[in-house]
């Protein structure tokens, strides 16, 4: 059966979990074409409050008068005073979020969801396979792994992006590269001739990565098609279905299991996920339009 979820992180829910608290934008940065990172802080009136969250969790962010969307927490869980969210501007709400500036109010509810299996990873090699925006919900896991480095075996980050311009968190990736205790391979789907790195799908990096399949755990996040291919490659490398975790995404209106929109077979992605162990959702991933 599925492993017990990570211990619940105390949320900041008012008596009605559908009512947001008000946060403010502290900083806004552009990470890639149409991708922005917003740093938010929650202030209850007596100083900026800490907002603990687990890697892999998400918040529901409201642009007042426009709407609400689920956005992954992409910051450092060991620094809970500032809530970092990475948003791709595709729809009305996310575009409105991306236009907010320092000082602007944002409605906030959360954190929600089951996060990455950080406790399970202790003592094991950790293989992180990220595609596109999928690196955002994985970054908190990376921060936590690197903060407690001695607790884990090898750490491998395999990251695929569309093109070099679309690579997220470049400076951070470079600073991680300078460490000697993490293997990082970045690849793009295509590049101009000045690119000196890998070109090809991220799944091709898996067979070359240095990890021990019997003792490894894999964390996968990206577009669903990419995750399916990555999981096939990970299994081919010897990882079992109980050692592979992925983060799913579905339409969400409430994030608390009441609106019904995020159902994926029997599970609610907002509440039973978004992180799932592969064996739990394996048969569902193979079904079209489920």
């Amino acid at each position: 059966m599925a492993p017990p979820p990570e211990p619940p992180v105390p949320g900041r829910f008012p008596p009605d979990p559908m009512v947001p608290c008000v946060a403010r934008v502290r900083r806004r940065r552009r990470d890639a074409p149409q991708v922005w990172t917003l740093d938010l802080e929650v202030d209850d009136g007596d100083g900026t409050k800490n907002f603990p969250f687990a890697p892999g969790q998400f918040n529901m962010l409201t642009v007042f008068g426009v709407g609400e969307v689920p956005i992954s927490l992409s910051g450092d869980p060991t620094k809970p005073g500032c809530l970092v969210h990475t948003v791709r501007a595709v729809g009305a709400v996310s575009n409105a979020l991306a236009r907010l500036g320092p000082g602007d109010p944002v409605g906030l509810r959360g954190p929600f969801g089951a996060g990455w299996p950080m406790a399970e990873a202790a003592g094991r090699d950790v293989v992180i396979v990220a595609g596109g925006l999928g690196l955002a919900p994985l970054r908190p896991a990376l921060y936590q792994l690197l903060a407690g480095r001695a607790r884990y075996g090898k750490i491998v980050l395999l990251y695929g992006a569309r093109s070099p311009d679309d690579i997220l968190f470049r400076r951070e990736i470079e600073s991680w590269r300078r460490r000697l205790d993490i293997e990082i391979e970045v690849t793009v789907d295509h590049a101009s001739s000045v690119w000196h790195g890998h070109v090809g799908v991220v799944t091709t990096l898996i067979s070359r990565a240095d990890f021990h399949p019997l003792h490894a755990i894999a964390l996968v996040c990206g577009p669903e098609v990419m995750m399916r291919f990555a999981i096939t490659a990970l299994r081919h490398s010897g990882l079992g279905d109980q050692s592979i975790y992925l983060s799913m995404e579905r339409n969400m209106k409430c994030a608390i299991g009441f609106c019904g929109h995020c159902q994926f077979g029997p599970v609610f992605v907002c509440r039973d996920g978004p992180v799932f162990r592969h064996d739990r959702v394996q048969s569902l991933l193979a079904l079209k339009e489920i």
Binding site: V90, G132, L133, A161, H196, H198, V201, T203, M226
Partner: protein, 153 residues
């Protein structure tokens, strides 16, 4: 020649190749080296050899007007470069540029094609090794074309 045999035998593409076939292949093989930035071949040129990469990386490129050269694949040690030598008109369909100092084994295509015609068992052995690579590249290419990371139109 012995040193070459050892190198060819150790390359993953020819792993497990039977002695007799190995000799046949080595008869068409030679050591080559390219400097970083040098082109192994260009689109349209005769595909008269293929390469087993021993050390270094290669970028496969296509050039489109207004877009310049676009890298669509990189290959690295243990992999092979070039499949157009297998099928007529035996011409390269892209450019291949060394990204770093490159050491490789070049195998003369005409030579190998001739030997495969003469010995179909050798031919079959070559096809058995090529096809999985082609299939894997096709599957990876499909995922690439889907452009899954891009924002939807």
């Amino acid at each position: 020649m012995e040193g070459l045999e050892r190198i060819v035998k150790e390359h993953p593409f020819f792993a497990g190749l039977e002695e007799g076939f190995l000799n046949l292949v080595c008869g068409c093989a030679k050591n080559v080296r390219f400097e970083a930035g040098q082109y192994l071949f260009r689109e349209g040129e005769p595909a008269d050899q293929f390469y087993l990469i021993r050390h270094g990386r290669i970028a496969l490129e296509l050039t489109a007007p207004g877009r310049g050269a676009i890298i669509f694949q990189t290959l690295t040690e243990g992999e092979i470069v070039g499949v157009s030598w297998v099928i007529p008109p035996y011409r390269w369909t892209y450019d291949a540029r060394a990204l770093d100092l490159l050491r490789a084994i070049a195998i003369d295509a005409a030579c190998l094609r001739q030997k495969c015609e003469a010995d179909h068992d050798l031919g079959y052995e070559m096809m058995k090794r090529f096809l999985p690579i082609l299939v894997q590249r096709l599957q990876a290419t499909r995922l690439q074309i889907l452009d899954v990371y891009g924002a939807p139109a």
